[in-house]
Symmetry: C2
Subunit: 127 residues, 2 copies
């Protein structure tokens, strides 16, 4: 199977300007799998990482702990190819539909970061 | 058609304690439609609104602008009945799968708050 094609997402300057960032200049970005609509992960973007995401067609986030940009899958190979990009009615949450390459989105090896349900008996806390 | 049944979601004290809130005591909560997996909206919860959501089986949020709790659909009738509740690997994002009653989740009348795509020609900004 060949690797997915990377495609830039069109946008206007007005759309980019309209995004409402929080006090830290960040906005949550939901990453959803194209087709199944499974929510894979949530990352944080600033204006520059949003622009890079749209222009490169790959997901770029801002790491709040490491204070650096990171492109999903650049180290792990679990790349995300953006196919559709949305913003909500308050323009303060973003949503990207992607093709997920590799094992999945979560660093634990799970396909989705949301693999633990309340009341399921899973060990709570950060993993 | 009869109204959906309200069902509490089981949880443990350890799960509730494990949730990692931000500096304002809040965590983003993704509301996803059961079945279609469409992302309907994102709201913010503090510990008390999370507890109320799990115990009542309805979605309770904390309004950052009005500084008050609100139960989705209590005014509009567009109620959300929680069927599954998840937390992510960092325990700092929540995800709820709901049955959506009424028109949908967005105050604009759209089913989902994410009805505008980048590059679509929609008028950007808060609506």
């Amino acid at each position: 199977m060949s690797a997915p094609t990377t495609t830039p997402i069109p946008y206007t300057a007005e759309e980019l300007d309209a995004v409402a960032y929080d006090a830290n200049g960040l906005v949550p970005a939901i990453i959803q799998e194209l087709g199944t609509n499974q929510v894979l992960m949530v990352g944080w973007m600033n204006e520059e990482s949003l622009r890079k995401t749209l222009e490169t067609g790959r997901t770029w986030f801002w790491s709040r702990s490491r204070h650096e940009y990171w492109c999903k899958g650049e180290t792990s190979g679990d790349r995300q190819y953006v196919r559709e990009a949305f913003y909500d009615c308050d323009a303060d949450v973003l949503l990207f539909k992607v093709e997920q390459e590799g094992r999945g989105a979560c660093h634990t090896g799970e396909r989705s970061c949301f693999f633990r349900a309340f009341g399921s008996g899973a060990t709570p806390g950060r993993v």
